[in-house]
Structure formats: C-alpha cells, structure tokens
C-alpha cells in the first residue's frame, strides 16, 4: 500500500533532473537549445527556486558546456550536465578530454538521431559516438531506471577506483518525454547514499599543485590510456556494488545485465534501452505459447559486460542483436560487434543475426518485434541468412 502512495507520474527527463538535484552538484554548465532536453530546464528552475545550491553556468554552445564542466571538475567540484543528439556530437572533443583527465562528471544524454537528414528522434547514433572515449555509459529502459542509474552514476564516477565520467542515458522521446509511473527516494536518503565529493587532486589546492591535461608523448600517452582502460573495465564491479547497495535502499532491482527467460531459451534477443521492454512483452506472449525465448539487456555498455551477456546466451540456438544505430561500413552495428566478440571469447558458436532498427524514431511495432523471434528459428535452421539487416526494410 505504501508504494501506491509513493507512485507519481513523471517523464524520464523530470526523473533525471530530480536525481541530479538530489545529488547536489556544485556546478552545472549547459546550453539550452534544441536539441537539448528539459533536464537542464528543470534543473535551472530548481536553482532559481533555491531548491539546490548549484552554480548554474549558461554558456554559448554544447562544446563550451562540457569545457566549462571540465574546468569545474578539475577544480574539484561535483559536476553534472545533460545533452542530446547534435549537442553530444559537438562535445566530441571534450568527451575524450574529460575521460583522459579522469574527471568524474555525470552527464545525462537523451539518445537521439544525428543529421543528415535532420532528425532529432530516438536512436543511439549520438551516444555510440561516445563509446570509444573512455566514459562509462549506462542505458535506462524506463523513466524510473533513468532516475536510479543517475543516482548510482555519481557514486561510480567519483569512486577512487574509477575516477571516470559517466554518461547516464535514456532513450530520446520514448523515455525522455514519455510520462510513466515512477517513484523516488527522499532527498536525505539520496544525499546520504551519494555522500560528499572530495576530489583527490583538485586544481585549486594551491598547497599541492597539480597539472591537468598536459602534453604527453607516446610512452606516457599509452600509459594514460592503459590506466583509463583498466579503470573503465574495473568499473563493472563498482557499478554492480553500488547498484546493489542502491537496490537495497530503494527495493528496485539493479542488474548490470538484465535477463528474462534466458535460463533455457532456444532463441535470445540482445538489446539496449527502452526497446528491451518491447522484446520482453513479445517474449512473454511467445513463452505462453510454449516457445522458449529470452531477452538480454545490458544496462551498461561501457564497460561492456561481455561475460554476463555470453552466459545469458549460452543455451540459445540463435541470437538476435538489435542495434539502434549503425556502424556504416562495418559488418555489424556497435552492439552486434560487442555481442559477437563476447560469444567468441566464451567459445559459443551459434549464429547471430544483427538487426538495425528504430533509426530516427522509427516505430518498433509488436509485429516487427515478433518477426525477429520468428526469423531466429529460420536462422538456426539455416533457412535464413544471419547477415545484418535493417528491420522492416530488407525482409
């Protein structure tokens, strides 16, 4: 009954803004133009209303927004911001700088398409441009999870074992602008969980001067990258640790890899973000008809939880990987390549069918979702090609 009273309606953007308010960043820099999100708009109102004591810096572009965040974070502040689509693309240079300087900035991204053609609707083209930058990247399925992931993101980013920026993402419009049933913990609970941030080597500590982002030749440059890789890879257990700690507080499950029906599945679909709900919805229907199908949703894309994804696929006769962005010219989309690599490492040799779907907000209908499970049976039987295809456009 208490959960009935706690529940309220909110969009994914509202939920991320609330989580950021509760984490009380010292600084937020943002450039509020389309395609931005209402996250920074809501947050600006929190600041104006005195509900959070954050230095809110309005800058002249998204490039400057993340630049300002870099400066503030290097100075020792807790820093958060949000972006989307072309805005994230314009930040590309700073994405590498943020991770290379090991600055624990938390940035939300409403995953959206990139021009051309002009389109600001949901897909993962923007966020996949950040996959090789060193940032930790999390995908939320729902507005609720966008909130929970954002709370956990601050702990992960600022942990001494990690010290890396985190992109906490939610699907543009599909999750960012859709209103859903949500819950949130009270401010004191979140503040106690997130705690205070004390930077280990702040630029403004004049008694212990440090240099940041300086010039480095090959030897030192490679060492820096290796340290970044180790920190990112090692973050998986830290995410798990804090995710489970948050789960214990809020009672909502937190799994680095979310699985449904995979214990004995013949056919498995791997997908990121909100589309996992569509996949599970159809999987439930098919299981009720006696078919053995499962769904795997990595909540974290960087670091990629390869072993857990492979383990969840191990009973499958065929696997479908659904990519909401393309890596044009490559054999597979970004998620497809990760999953195939993970299966190979685990010694699994079932055929894998990679789909590109939902680009530019293209609807993932129940019929299309069902067709993926149907096609997997043909792929396993050798009567359908496992080659990559654009869902609904090449069958």
């Amino acid at each position: 009954m208490s959960t009935e009273i706690k529940a309220f309606s909110a969009t994914g953007n509202q939920m991320v803004a609330e989580a950021m308010r509760q984490a009380e960043p010292d600084v937020m820099a943002a450039y509020p133009i389309t395609p931005q999100t209402t996250i920074v708009e809501s947050f600006a109102k929190f600041v104006a209303d005195g509900r959070v004591h954050t230095e809110y810096v309005t800058v002249e572009s998204e490039h400057s927004a993340l630049s300002a965040c870099v400066g503030a974070s290097a100075a020792g502040a807790r820093v958060a911001t949000a972006t989307a689509s072309q805005g994230l693309a314009l930040m590309w240079e700073e994405l590498h700088i943020t991770a290379g300087m090991r600055l624990p900035i938390v940035m939300a991204n409403a995953n959206r398409a990139l021009a051309a053609p002009i389109n600001i609707h949901c897909d993962h083209s923007d966020i996949m441009g950040a996959r090789d930058t060193g940032w930790i990247i999390m995908f939320a399925e729902t507005a609720q999870e966008a909130y929970d992931n954002t709370v956990v993101s601050f702990k992960v980013a600022e942990d001494a074992r990690v010290q890396l920026p985190v992109l906490t993402t939610l699907d543009g419009f599909t999750t960012s602008h859709a209103m859903e049933r949500c819950e949130m913990e009270d401010d004191d609970t979140v503040r106690a969980f997130v705690g205070d941030y004390v930077a280990a080597h702040p630029l403004l500590d004049t008694d212990n001067p440090v240099g940041c982002g300086s010039y480095a030749l090959g030897d030192c440059y490679m060492k820096t990258h290796l340290a970044c890789r180790r920190a990112n890879t090692g973050a998986l257990s830290v995410i798990e640790e804090y995710g489970k700690a948050w789960e214990a507080i809020c009672g909502r499950p937190f799994n680095v890899v979310d699985t449904w029906g995979t214990e004995d599945a013949d056919y498995v679909v791997v997908v990121l973000g909100s589309a996992a709900g569509n996949a599970r919805h159809i999987a439930r229907e098919l299981c009720a008809q006696g078919r053995r199908v499962g769904v795997v949703r990595p909540k974290v894309f960087r670091p990629f939880p390869a072993a857990a994804v492979a383990a969840a696929c191990k009973t499958a006769k065929a696997v479908a990987v659904m990519d909401r962005s393309d890596s044009i010219g490559a054999a597979h989309g970004p998620l497809g390549a990760e999953v195939i690599s993970a299966l190979h490492e685990a010694g699994l040799t079932m055929p894998v069918k990679n789909y590109i779907f939902g680009l530019g907000g293209q609807d993932l209908t129940n019929e299309l979702m069902t067709s993926i499970f149907d096609t997997l049976e043909d792929v396993a039987a050798g009567t359908a090609s496992p080659a990559l295809s654009y869902l609904g456009f090449e069958e």
């Binding site: 009935e4 529940a7 309220f8 309606s9 609707h121 699907d171 419009f173 599909t174 999750t175 602008h177 859709a178 209103m179 859903e180 049933r181 909100s274 589309a275 709900g277 569509n278 599970r280 919805h281 609807d363 993932l364 209908t365 129940n366």
Partner: protein, 191 residues
C-alpha cells in the same frame, strides 16, 4: 490477466492533446493503475496534425511504441477527418469521441465505423470558448471521455487537473477549466 486500455489522440499542435493525454494517465495512476502517456512529435509547428497516446494498465507497461490498435480514439479537430484515417486499427467494439458541432448521425457517417463502435460527439471547442475563453478543447474532452468510457472518474480528473494546472495557472483559469470538464461531461452525446 492484465487489463490494458489504449487511447490514441488526434489533434493539431496547440490544442493541448499532449496535456490531455497526460491528464488522463495521471488520473488513472492515482486510481492505482500503471500508465504511459507520450506525444508523437513531428515537425513542431502550430496547427500541424499530431498524435498522442495514453496507456492505462493494471500491470506494469513494458512496451515503448505507438498505439496502432486503440480501444479509444479521440479527435480534437474535426478537419482532421479530411486528411487522417483516425479510426485506423480501432479495436472492434471501440469508442470514438469527436470534438464537433455535427450530429451523432452525421459523425457516424463521416467516421464510417462499424455498428459495434460507440460514437460520441461533444462541442468541446464551443465549451472551451465559453468557459476558458480560448479554443483549447483538451480539458473539456477529458470530461467527455470520463462520461463515455468510465476509464477515469470525473471527480478524480478535476482533482488532478487542479494539481497539474495549479503549478502554472491562476485560480480563475483553473476554475474555468474545471467548469469546461463538467460541461462536456453533461453535454456529450453518444450512441
């Protein structure tokens, strides 16, 4: 067995369909339901045809896509009937609520729906002009929805409307919107 009701809203940008879709969802949530409400954004310009969606379910809602087989279709602008197939995919025995001054018989003929479909007509634009003072048919049509479908109780709608609008509008404007809900609840005709 989960009980799912899906509503598709047809309107022109600026008529407040997204707000109405959210008001219905928010009201249903307060009755204990799981909900989803979302707009289908196209090019953002006033007057452009748009769709919005509301899902109300007794169980958590997992799908994130548009509604292609609604049980309820709500049309906020009758000129859309010339250009949009508003009843596309409507479930057998479904309901269509139309904002128009036309008669029920005329509406049924224009919609061309099967006999098992409930058709309801309310002049929500006239009600909005007379109560709110602007042609924003979104809040009155929710009153009509309450009467025709019983999906959400009208008193609960008014309670949530007061809270939702209380953040942005004056008491006078809230009262006008509440009056529009009551009037549409009383004046909607159905067959």
């Amino acid at each position: 067995m989960s009980q799912l009701t899906e509503i598709r809203w047809h309107a022109r940008a600026g008529q407040g369909a997204v707000t109405a879709a959210k008001l219905v969802a928010d009201t249903a949530l307060m009755q204990g339901a799981y909900i989803q409400a979302m707009p289908e954004y196209g090019p953002e310009r006033n007057g452009a045809p748009l769709k919005a969606y509301t899902r109300v379910c007794s169980e958590p809602i997992e799908v994130h896509n548009t509604i292609t087989n609604p049980a309820i279709v709500i049309v906020l602008d009758e000129t859309l009937l010339d250009t949009v197939d508003v009843t596309e995919g409507l479930l057998p025995g479904g309901t269509v609520i139309l904002n128009s001054e036309m008669s029920l018989a005329c509406a049924r003929e224009r919609l061309g729906v099967a006999n098992d479909v409930t058709v309801a007509v309310v002049d929500a634009s006239k009600i909005a002009l007379e109560t709110i003072g602007r042609n924003v048919p979104n809040t009155p049509i929710v009153g009509a929805l309450s009467k025709v479908t019983g999906l959400v109780p009208v008193d609960a709608v008014k309670q949530r409307l007061t809270i939702m609008f209380g953040k942005k509008f004056s008491q006078e404007m809230i009262d006008a919107n509440l009056a529009s809900v009551d009037r549409a609840y009383k004046e909607v005709e159905l067959a």
